[in-house]
Symmetry: C2
Subunit: 507 residues, 2 copies
Amino acid sequence: MNAAHAPLPAAYAVLIAAWKRVSLLGAVGKLLGWDQEVNLPPAGAPHRAEQQTLIAGLAHEWRTDPKIGDLIAAAERCGLPPDSAEAACVREMRRDYDRAVKVPRPLVEEMARTHSLAVAAWQEARKKNNFPAFAPWLEKNFSLARRYAEALDDGAGSYDTLLNDYEQGLTAAALDPLLGRLREALPPLAREAMRSRRSPNQDLLNVPFPKEAQAAFARDLTSAIGFDFTGGRLDESAHPFCSTIGPGDTRLTTRYSGRNFKEALYSTIHEMGHGLYEQGLPPEHRGTPLGEGCSSGVHESQSLFWENLIAHSPAFWAFFFPRLQAACPALASARLDDFLFAVNKVEPSFIRIQADEVTYNLHILLRTGLERDMFSGRLPPRDLPGEWNRRFHDLVGLDVPDDAQGCLQDIHWSVGAVGYFPTYSLGHLNAAQIETALRAEVRDLDRLLARGDFSPALAWLRRNIHQHGRRYEPADLVRRVTGQPLSPEPLLAHLREKVRFYYGAGR
Amino acid sequence: MNAAHAPLPAAYAVLIAAWKRVSLLGAVGKLLGWDQEVNLPPAGAPHRAEQQTLIAGLAHEWRTDPKIGDLIAAAERCGLPPDSAEAACVREMRRDYDRAVKVPRPLVEEMARTHSLAVAAWQEARKKNNFPAFAPWLEKNFSLARRYAEALDDGAGSYDTLLNDYEQGLTAAALDPLLGRLREALPPLAREAMRSRRSPNQDLLNVPFPKEAQAAFARDLTSAIGFDFTGGRLDESAHPFCSTIGPGDTRLTTRYSGRNFKEALYSTIHEMGHGLYEQGLPPEHRGTPLGEGCSSGVHESQSLFWENLIAHSPAFWAFFFPRLQAACPALASARLDDFLFAVNKVEPSFIRIQADEVTYNLHILLRTGLERDMFSGRLPPRDLPGEWNRRFHDLVGLDVPDDAQGCLQDIHWSVGAVGYFPTYSLGHLNAAQIETALRAEVRDLDRLLARGDFSPALAWLRRNIHQHGRRYEPADLVRRVTGQPLSPEPLLAHLREKVRFYYGAGR
């Protein structure tokens, strides 16, 4: 008898139903968060913080209900085949439950209230380039992050504990050699590009292109790749993000810079990568761990795969450039080669989400170091601007002109996401390693891209990554998909080839 | 000793805190509803219905908690001065609580789920002019309305019971003579206008005016009148509405018709009237009955006051017409008199929210009669289109071309709002009677309007109506404000004067 066709034990079914009810309440909290970043009028911020606090506290109460613990224990005893999806689901529920019960409800509520108010304060502070207005919130958030970590790891309060919220199994000890390799290899590559006598014409990216027309083009492009707008949206927010409220409701946001359409375009493609992952999660497991993305590092691999490996490639633009020209008449006489060089320009810059692929991870090194120091107490959050600017100069070689282009540019610390930044680097490494595996199987990828056929690539991702949700732990999943443990070398090989292609002496 | 300065009894304070917590959860439900109509991707509808069901069921459980009943009883015994705001607040909580406890939670949940799915079905059906796709939802909603009324009035299931959800104290017996007077007086007035040899040039309202420019003008106009966008928004939805999520968060929507800018403009002004009421409710009572609008009929008086009595007047456009011309260059050479006649045209038409003031209430008579017959079982909901069209012809004299312009045009029955329509007629009557009272005090109103000074009118409404919330029952409030019981005569006098002004032989 095939275990897959055996009826599921009753205890498992009861657990799943209880879990889905908690997820449904959590989804309400997600809408509160999405709406705050996209729609909330400024005067509504205090009330929204109370709503967030109410729902977060209630969801925590439900999530940590001892009955859930009993149901998990019963499901663990009911003989699910160890390799089954259901056993993996119970394993992940056990993990989530054991972490959640360690955190007291008042702390969860204080975090929800503070993060909600802090993100509103950050939006204002960034707009007005006013770090002092945000500093007290930054202090509060790092203090809360410490209390949260201490609750989780019985007082140790380690950075590893925070990392594990985003990337199961990740430790600073495992992270450091990976980041160290990037720290060593990236600056020389950037210098190689900067020393070249070739330099793209950036004027191509600074042409009249009304916001509505940019949005319409972004919708066409993401639809053509496979993002399903009958179950999704594209909006504008202070910081681009992707949020899935529930099945059939995956929402992307972007940010229009006014001067340059590249930022909004690539932000949208990045968030679309997250959105494709979310839309590819198995519908039958929605509301359970198997219906969630594997980890932040794997999630970022999906956004960065599309943003960097695909949407910066000549094959991709062979298909989309004529469409872009149709959407943006100011580009009518532009040449594809010039456009490609312009979007692939390597140059140190201030804004992380606008950074080129070579210098991008220097921005992550900066943030990872700073948040570790603020978390440990070595760096008082009120001293962040000076320290940011000093280290930015060391890493990237530029002088930060103001905090809006410096330490106020990212939303993460305002929503208490301490430990998230390193997953962007993991995402870059994962994406390059995954692309290598994909190209080994989909051998005519460039030919397919050039004719606008994205379905083989998307189907490969769906089959190898999306459909599994959290069935495998992140490091396992990457090893299963690529046959190798995670390594910086595929990314570095990709970047070297790219620098050579655009900046090499042969051109 | 002044009772207003005595410390409030502890029982009252505990009750208020408990009530505010329920309101906070209710506010989450309001966001789910607003988002469904403004943002929700179609594929997200089933999940949204589950979210609505969860929150509605939970809010009902909290709202009907016997502890709340005990607190109300304690507050009733604690000697609040009978004329105080606090005593009125307890009176209204008693009313809400006694109604809520009669409704079983499963019925509340079934209504939430069904209404959420039905509104999604209605959006599609209206778009595709497909009544049969909506008919089963209409059946379900009227069946639920019957069960709901039966739960509330111990099995009688009367239409009066539903009316009382929207208008405390209203009965069909009190409503019928008011509607009867309109039924008798309006058609001859409409005929008088139609028989005139004068007729406005409607081409003025059908000029190129891009949606974004319409929205920008609407924002300028509503801001100038006093709507506060730091605590509000303006969006687009299938049916215009106003929703207050919480303090500092009042949201208007409108609908752009593409051909004619009048619909979006006056819908926005209408919803702004609701929004000004909401923004004028007393901040210290938010989350309690005193922080809510008095009734639907009073709420509609606020929207219709601005839409009809103010924003159709020559004085209003003396100020705004040059601004409209600046926002819409196609009107650059238009004459103010011609524009005024165009927006004040009296002519039978299909869409209620586009109807002129004279024929508008015929649309309400139609809907009120139809919903009473569907509610009583005399008219099976599946037979609605034929009956709608037949009665529409009798009342308005036109043949309905399709259901999208007929029985599918309104959102109300899809969200289960049976008993709401008559409050629009009450709103018209209230608005005209209130305007008479306001003009008796603000004697230079037209001069103020013509120079763009809206604050005296708004301040008068705030002082006489908004600040009271639900302190007075609706009929009482209108009598307090206007010195008279509600009567159709001020409205009819206003309409006769208007018809004479635009269509009279003297012009």
